[in-house]
């Protein structure tokens, strides 16, 4: 269960917008509205994203606040499902099916529309029988202090997270930068931001 045990890997964010007075109700609604839902059917490579509880990635019921609100921390998980197909197998099945079509129809070559239909049918058939790869990535949000840890450092996954977060909670996340450490020493910010790169071993700029 995220953040509660083991090693941690995360990117830190600042939550820009203030916390609304009725945040408990609003956030329960936000989590519920954008909860993970099985899409039924997906196309190849398409990702399905939504919120789940961190105690079990199958749990999307947020009505019990004890399961996601821990005093002043909000903890939930972003679930990402993605179905992908083994390309060599798909290619081989398509070729086999095209050859069969050509034989049945006495043609040397299948038209593009037929090839396309065959490919789509095979992919849809395989996707329906394929389990997705499933990821659940927890985040923990310190509500009064306005910072948040997200247990992943991939830029692509973090982009998905920021988008889902903004769409759900209506607030913006800004990734932490070390300059945020200088809140207590603001006089250092501008001079530090202005320095160039030092070339070690070959003089300094």
């Amino acid at each position: 269960m995220g953040f509660l045990k083991g090693r941690l890997t995360f990117r830190r964010y600042r939550v820009i917008d203030p916390l609304p007075d009725d945040f408990r109700d609003r956030f329960e609604e936000a989590l519920t509205d954008q909860a993970f839902r099985d899409p039924g059917s997906v196309s190849k490579g398409e990702e399905t994203v939504g919120w789940v509880r961190t105690d079990n990635l199958l749990e999307t019921d947020f009505s019990n606040r004890d399961k996601w609100l821990y005093t002043h921390y909000l903890m939930a998980g972003m679930r990402i499902d993605k179905k992908s197909l083994p390309t060599p197998l798909v290619r081989a099945m398509i070729e086999q099916r095209i050859e069969a079509w050509c034989e049945e129809n006495g043609r040397a070559r299948a038209p593009a529309s037929v090839r396309s239909d065959i490919r789509v049918n095979i992919e849809n058939d395989l996707l329906a029988r394929t389990l997705p790869t499933v990821k659940m990535i927890p985040f923990c949000w310190n509500l009064p202090e306005g910072w948040l840890l997200f247990e992943n450092t991939s830029d692509r996954i973090n982009d998905r997270f920021r988008t889902l977060f903004r769409n759900s909670f209506g607030v913006t996340l800004e990734a932490f930068t070390p300059l945020d450490f200088l809140v207590e020493t603001p006089e250092l910010v501008d001079p530090l931001a202005a320095v160039g790169m030092t070339v070690m071993g070959g003089g300094a700029s």
Partner: protein, 166 residues
């Protein structure tokens, strides 16, 4: 304060490594002494690229000749694994890239009793304590970096250290 300024993080990593070795691992931050050393991982990249060009792992990584050679050759530190101790706490943490992403954070031994809420509070508090120390280290670096001392004393000191003269 939205800029990442990637060269500052690489210089912060280099300064941390150098400063920790100058003081035998002991550094004073906000009036409190901590012990800090580069642990078992250093990743280097070229200043113009994001991809790692050299990754050193294992015991004594910081003392490996290849580590200082990479810096002397113009590479910069992309990731550094640190051990940090103060009071009775010891952390292991890898700092990565311009945003100081955190990897493989090992927290000090913490009480295991209590419910989920208690454990979350304790662990988040431990993370915040580490973050406060990292912040204090960064402020110290920032003060040095913008001062004349950076070019007059620190950079020459780092260059001597890279050559094994200090």
């Amino acid at each position: 304060m939205t800029e990442s300024l990637p060269h500052l993080s690489t210089e912060f990593f280099t300064w941390l490594w150098w400063a920790s070795e100058q003081g035998g691992g002991r550094l004073t931050v906000d009036g409190e002494e901590i012990i800090l050393w580069v642990d078992d991982r250093l990743a280097f990249r070229l200043p113009s690229e994001d991809a790692s060009r050299a990754v050193l792992t294992g015991a004594d990584t910081a003392r490996a000749a290849e580590a200082k050679a990479a810096l002397a050759a113009g590479k910069v530190i992309k990731e550094v694994r640190l051990r940090i101790q103060w009071d009775d706490r010891e952390y292991g943490v890898t700092l990565k890239g311009a945003r100081l992403d955190v990897g493989g954070l090992v927290l000090p031994a913490l009480p295991e009793d209590g419910d989920e809420q208690d454990r979350l509070m304790i662990r988040m508090e431990a993370i915040e304590a580490l973050w406060a120390v990292l912040g204090a280290l960064y402020r110290r670096f920032a003060a040095v970096r913008v001062a004349d001392d950076w070019h007059q004393e620190v950079v020459p000191g780092i260059e001597r250290w890279l050559k094994g003269q200090a």
